[in-house]
Symmetry: C2
Subunit: 475 residues, 2 copies
Amino acid sequence: MHLDTITFSLPLLATATETADSSLILAAVLLSIVVIYLASKVGGELLSRFGLPPVLGELVGGVVVGISVLHLLVFPEGGAESSSSLIMTFLQTTAGLTPDAADAVFTAQSEVISVLSELGVIILLFEIGLESNIKDLIAVGTQAAVVAVVGVVVPFTAGTVGLMTLFGIPAIPAIFAGAALTATSIGITSKVLSELGRLNSKEGQIILGAAVIDDVLGIIVLAVVASLAKEGSVDVTKVIYLIISASSFLLGAIFLGNIFSKTFVAIASSLKTRGGLVIPAFIFAFVMAYFAAAIQLEAILGSFAAGLVLDETDERVELQKQVIPIADMLVPIFFVTVGAKTDLGVLNPAIPSNREGLVMAIFLLVVAIAGKLVTGFSVFGQPQINRLAIGVGMIPRGEVGLVFLGIGSSIGILSKPLEAAIIMMVILTTFLAPPLLRFVFPEPETAATATDQLILDDSSGKSLVMESPDSQDTK
Amino acid sequence: MHLDTITFSLPLLATATETADSSLILAAVLLSIVVIYLASKVGGELLSRFGLPPVLGELVGGVVVGISVLHLLVFPEGGAESSSSLIMTFLQTTAGLTPDAADAVFTAQSEVISVLSELGVIILLFEIGLESNIKDLIAVGTQAAVVAVVGVVVPFTAGTVGLMTLFGIPAIPAIFAGAALTATSIGITSKVLSELGRLNSKEGQIILGAAVIDDVLGIIVLAVVASLAKEGSVDVTKVIYLIISASSFLLGAIFLGNIFSKTFVAIASSLKTRGGLVIPAFIFAFVMAYFAAAIQLEAILGSFAAGLVLDETDERVELQKQVIPIADMLVPIFFVTVGAKTDLGVLNPAIPSNREGLVMAIFLLVVAIAGKLVTGFSVFGQPQINRLAIGVGMIPRGEVGLVFLGIGSSIGILSKPLEAAIIMMVILTTFLAPPLLRFVFPEPETAATATDQLILDDSSGKSLVMESPDSQDTK
């Protein structure tokens, strides 16, 4: 009797439910990761057989397992409920998940996968930073800045003015849609360049530098238009704060980083236990990512800066080697998740607002592509450069475009057709850019750098061996 | 006016809060990982200078940053609130976290870190499986089974009878406390053996095999005593189900695994994109971990079985190399989290129930140590074997002991002093075992295996180079 009373008292039941949940959350996360890995490998391998960048296959694989088709990997932000997730249904039939607990497990699993995906893009940009050379980036700094500014001003102006004059959209939503046209997805662009072995070409460095500057500009543009939409006026203090904090962060990271990189090598070489190189490197990368996020920039800018700084150290080659398997494990989670969250429902012509949005979408798509293509022709003093490739490299909007859209929706200023048009523009630029980039960079470079080889040859398993002499040199 | 109405409608506000949360959750996770890495490296390096196993340093580092001392890394399961987490306070002052949102961010961050920690121990056991040889394990199978059974029966009987006769504890709580004495922490034991380079010694293989069998026995014992405590009788069907499912899982995994391992090599060698080896390996490991969890065993048994199977393939050496940095990144999260969740408050003599529990704790500790030490003397047909080392290897209760305790608390059958006594026993066995193991395995083996060298030499960064000829041989 006494025992029964205790067993059924509320707080104890709650504890029991929590215990049950934690193993079910783990089971749900394990299944989600398996689905993500299958989607990334099937998609990536299939598309690479057709000569297309594997990352496009990961995005498409994500679309197939996500909200648009199979409903294996869905997220509550997209309005999905636990009952629409096939993984939850599977857990209910195989692992004894009760319908009552399903919502809590679904929310927790989605949070964990979202964070893993964000860690994935943080590691990706860290790796891209490690592969890039800070001096090369500074050398193309002015060209990159011009490309970034042109790539923000042209699509923004053309998009806003066009929507207002051609479609009669009111000023504020038109400005917001114009702002969504300015973004460039660093993640997608840098990954494709790395896959093509072009990250360290002059074009690659300009695109990467411009994408970084574009990210900072995009954050400032977003702050401006969001405060304009919310309060009807621009919060000048915030804009000045963002400009100052972004500039000081990037410059400060590089200057302080150069001092810190010596300390880093000293610390890493004094450590005797396992992970003596990778753990200090990740402490640095994650602290920088945190700082970037805390001053309202993006976390990936911090890990990119950390990678750039550590690329200057003697541990570079060994660190790159160790980061490769970690990136292989976490980066696909990011791209598959981006694909899974993409709702192709907006392309369905049966829904009226989609039909209304279609003409606007075509207009936005033209502006989105043309507005970035012109950036290539703004590059000066480089007669030999592949201008088309630079323009194409700036095209994908990816997750950055979706962030703009998410904030626009949350403020509630976008009409349904305009929202659908922006989503279509984001999807098409994201999925068109990788094959276009492949097309404008037709042949692999004959004199690929050691780093590029390391990446390209990775699947053969021989790359680590090939790199051995280098790594001994750096000791 | 229209705009205001929309801005303040409830669902839209909720969306805005969610957007804000997701970047704050990421910031909280990044800070937690930085704290974990600092704790693991400072603790691990300090203790390794004193000749102690680094993993003990990670546990101690976890205690320092956790609920017992600094309150940087606390978890809601331990009854902590978001206001007691220093990371949450830090986010409130640096990243604009509002007190209202703090609870949600705290819960999400704790869930993510808990899952990362569980992924860490899954990867650890996968790596241990890769380092172990299935034939060696089967060769010592009978001895391991005897060690496991003796190590369950002796502490269980001595503990239960002692608590009933010496301390007058009623039968059911005494049986539960006796059951908590049977566990062995595979994670801690295998990690220490690996660090000492003794995993592939005969003693190491017996300990590992016995710890695996012990884990299965522990799950069965737990099911028996939990149903005894809840319903007053033993659910025989469930016990039979567990015995059959556990045996079929382990045997089935190995037999099916042998067939699958050929398919695995064929798939892995046909993949041309990045991660072509590590992703298929993790798909296999996570599917096995899921199956193990779904049939109410532990996820780590699944990944251990997957590692054992893949150790039989030609890709073994290359896979081990690639898993090392991933394990270096994730495994410390597990050990630091175990330390952080350990509440040393039970050792505080100012609390009455702790004083009452102290004598019981001493009794339980003696039974816990003596009951496992005798297992070494149950090994037959091995005159040369280090019996003391086997006994000591079975001592740490670690996270498995805490699982028993958690279920006992949730059923509500343990008195405060008895609960405190069990926690003290778990803490002391966990923290005493690594230095004791170091002591009973005094000198490193002269003829360490290649795998052990790979691990031991990892910090020098030269191991990958040293291994190059092997990896070429396997191609």
